[in-house]
Symmetry: D2
Subunit: 336 residues, 4 copies
């Protein structure tokens, strides 16, 4: 594998919202040829802007491709991943199946036994934090929108051991509706969302709490409790994590700007706004990057706004970023 | 029955969008006591702003009430209507079951045999056009949003025999999403509707075409073809019918304003805007009335905009207006 | 003045969004007659659902009324207030002019000298917290949406001295666009707000920080720093304050529910949701009450969601609640 | 000039909504280098995704470029166009200044004398209809969203002389808010548009009526009256023209599908949907093409839905299409 090869790929679960964005990105990727795209619900339908049709999952010619992207529900995803790996096909998984490091933790949050515990732990596919462990591997767990946006918003502070040990990390998150998937549900009906704002899975009950804490702990074990509240907001796409933290006495909040700029200066897919500007959802929508703004509140308190497109850096484009790393091609190919 | 009595009523299908508005109106109606409200889906849940809970359809104490409102799917509605009438309970039906005058026409548009053909024809519950036939009766078919808004927009022209006989009546209709019901469906998912506009059932395929033509013919048989195109628009409620007609040589479009004002001047629930103003959705949303504006285009061509709240004058408040007529109480009780 | 009198009132600034809701409430208030409504911008235009027309501020017959509501910009409001008080007319002010207790604090946050320092301090018009000081008085400062929603969300904890002294009070607030007023501005253009979320006046820079802290201190001086971040969200009305607090060792977060229910049980215009339910914007929109939900996160951490309609309990209906108290009539008259 | 040259261009009025899309397209155009972009309102601000800053109109180095795009208000545009042409710079005008063929007609619709009548008539920049007259010329008038979407929706019928001579052409148009420009105005305030639908400039009063009729007449003089009603709808971008026509006896509506497919089969930027599918706004948003669907209503009546992105095929991308033709490079360069 090398810099100018063309790789054949397949996409499972291609008709969901993340799957659609994934197909769109892959069709323009200069080193990718999309061989198949599956959807049991929409099989037979044409895929926009392509000559492809959705095919049923079971008809996918797995052995014809170099890599597969799995935008499937958890539990189903692990099964296909194991099949693909068995025939030498690389796997970029977008489900929750390989994000938690142990089968016990998986069962704690997802209430089912892990289908393939022998594949754990899997490299966590957040390149800006874990790039070295993704390059060249055969299986990567791509994190979703909440963990990606939150972790990128916290990373420089975690790495600098800047957080007060006994203060909570508060994440008030606001998500566009596509984050909840394409299947019709009562709470996703237009009339229910229009003109409304709804917190859900408040406290520490959302499944992503375990995953975010796991990854925080790998960078820096001495931090306070994560308080994470997602909200459904009336936009189609985009995710904002409003993060409130207390710094320890080693760091003054006015130095945070420099800290973030230093870490992210070389990252093409993370942008730190100049001091005084606020990140808005629009900075991220339909973009493959994360945008971050920092507001020193007092010497000790810092307010961070981190935004992504939940279907791009929070799903599809991050999967392609991982794919590029796994194939040892330029990480941003097809993403700038 | 008389001017100051209190009537006991029940509502079937009370958890749908029209049902919710109906409950809201009835709870404030000075001559109504709501005895029960049914919902198979939400049975056991509390009804907002009341002490009531939804109960299953089959548990409704039909014999305890003077009248029932049926906000049920077609076919199911006729069955309950027959039961209610059999025990002397008046029925205000909001479904399609009694809107068409013959079982043949019903089967043509709804593709099933009529469950109770012996109850046809039923008075058509559009009071401004058919008031005399609604007073005191036991069963009324309340028309929905498209026919109500369209017929009120056309009525003065039809009555004045002002339409050119061989020109089409064009109705470009724009409906809020609640008009499609509360059941989750792929095309009603927030993400699908947000930022979008969609024509559907174009041409003459929408089920309400038959009903609108039937009622037009009763007023004036000599008119052209009805071309009716509904569109789904990204608002929760409200319906706009943009109507384009050709007048015959007896009437100049500049006289239409006077024609409409004359007919509707005494109607408390229809408002004709002064010449030069345009009816917007906001004129109608959360109101119990229809608002109409007229634009003479040329001597022969007239453009009419008619707006209602699809859940009020296009459903719930019109049902209550019919109820008032059936009970011989002031027609606008609880509606102004 | 007494229980069944009719009071003549005038409204200054009646064409703004709060002014419009105020007029709507007053027109249905059984003990109010609206004598005039001013708007320099829309003077001469008809006021919806009434026989009134907007008149210029200077034409208002101040001496013909018992009370005036001032929905004017700060600085302008104090001038009219002084004129009204001078002729014996009671004043319910909705501007910021009388909310801060000293001219110094006013100048600190509003960057202009106070126009009438002799009128300070003025009773703070948040009845659930300050009722005793509002009854019968001649001038009340009605707080706006952010302070009302935040203070009601915190009040039972403040009163119980339940907050940890050295932990911040974090308020992540989300506001509908009408909160920013009716004057066209670039950031309020439909295209800028649609599909977007924007933090603004982050850190401790928003003018309401001083006012909220002042009122917190009156209830309980020993609390941590207020971190307040407002966000503009794509809805027309409604305000959600997401509040994150740390409790001291005297109180366990699981007891908060009881604390709130006890305090608010007798308040007709504050509703505490049952444990486990989350307050959404829709609980408050077009309602005159505040709705609150509580989520214990850990023993020490509590997450509170407080919602109001920014134009009702956050402006117009609270002004009428104050009016009722000032006139010694039933506090909820015209509001239930 | 030729197939592989790089052309230097400038954009006047680059901060408006059409200007922003234009910059976005030009920055990715493989044969374009953007030399300057002007905005008096935002001069000095950075242009997203570029190294450029907006400069004041008067500072634009006109003689450094091969072509200029003018996204300026009418009247201002003609003045800059004349200056540019005088120094040998090609002009792609997006304003109304050169769309009408005579100064008389311009004055009739725009109520001011034409600033440069000597430049009229100018080639009308709708390539699918007028390609031959655009190639290689120095000045082109790019039509806006309403005329483009309407004319493309009618063109095959006009060319085939299929329209009944004495029946009106009815265009019920629905436009996203960006079509009204970026300047804040009361009717463009988020709160006014949200949840609303508004007809405006009804009848035949909209300025684009004259332009559409002028271009229809060039293709086919024997058609009926144009009835054109624009509506403002609560979406940020996209335009739908719902067109209702009467065919003459030479053509059956069921043949329209073939007629359109034949004409547009070779057009890369117009797409005719298969019979039975309906064009929705989403077919066009953020795309550079027009999508059309056809619904035969009766033998004589045809309903056409034509959609574009008002900022792309209705403005910016069509301007680039014209530029490509004027420079004799591949017409779709930078647009597919």
């Amino acid at each position: 594998m090398g810099a100018s090869d063309i790789y054949k790929v397949g996409v499972y679960g291609a008709s969901g919202y993340a799957g659609q964005d994934l197909i769109e990105i892959l069709l323009r990727h200069p080193q990718v040829e999309v061989i198949f795209a599956t959807s049991n619900t929409y099989s037979g339908e044409a895929i926009p802007n392509s000559d492809l049709q959705y095919i049923p999952h079971d008809d996918a010619p797995l052995s014809d491709v170099d890599a597969v992207f799995l935008a499937l529900p958890h539990k189903a995803s692990a099964v296909v991943a194991a099949q693909a790996l068995a025939v030498g096909v690389k796997v970029i998984d977008l489900s929750a199946d390989f994000r938690l490091d142990t089968p016990e933790r998986y069962e704690q949050w997802y209430k089912v036994p892990h289908p393939h515990p022998e594949l754990l732990p899997t490299p966590y596919g957040l390149p800006e934090i874990n790039r070295a462990n993704i390059r060249g591997v055969n299986l990567v767990a791509t994190p979703g929108c909440y963990p990606t946006t939150t972790l990128l918003g916290l990373y420089p502070l975690l790495k600098a051991h800047a957080l007060a040990q006994h203060a909570p990390i508060i994440v008030d998150a606001k998500s566009g509706v596509s984050g909840a998937g394409r299947s019709p549900k009562p709470n996703l009906h237009f009339v229910e969302v229009f003109g409304n704002l709804s917190p859900y899975s408040a406290g520490r009950s959302h499944r992503h709490v375990g995953e975010i804490e796991q990854e925080i702990a790998k960078i820096n074990g001495n931090v306070g409790t994560l308080i994470f509240t997602p909200h459904l907001v009336p936009v189609d796409r985009g995710l904002m994590a409003s993060i409130y933290v207390t710094l320890n006495d080693d760091v003054d909040s006015s130095h945070a700007q420099g800290l973030y700029e230093e870490i992210y200066d070389t990252e093409p897919l993370v942008r730190v706004l100049p001091a005084g500007q606020q990140a808005t959802l629009r900075h991220a929508v339909r973009k493959n990057s994360c945008t971050i703004s920092l507001t020193p509140v007092t010497e000790n308190y810092l307010h961070i706004t981190s935004v992504t497109d939940n279907l791009r850096k929070g799903a599809a484009s991050q999967a392609v970023q991982n794919f590029n790393l796994m194939m040892n091609i330029t990480e941003t190919t097809g993403l700038l």
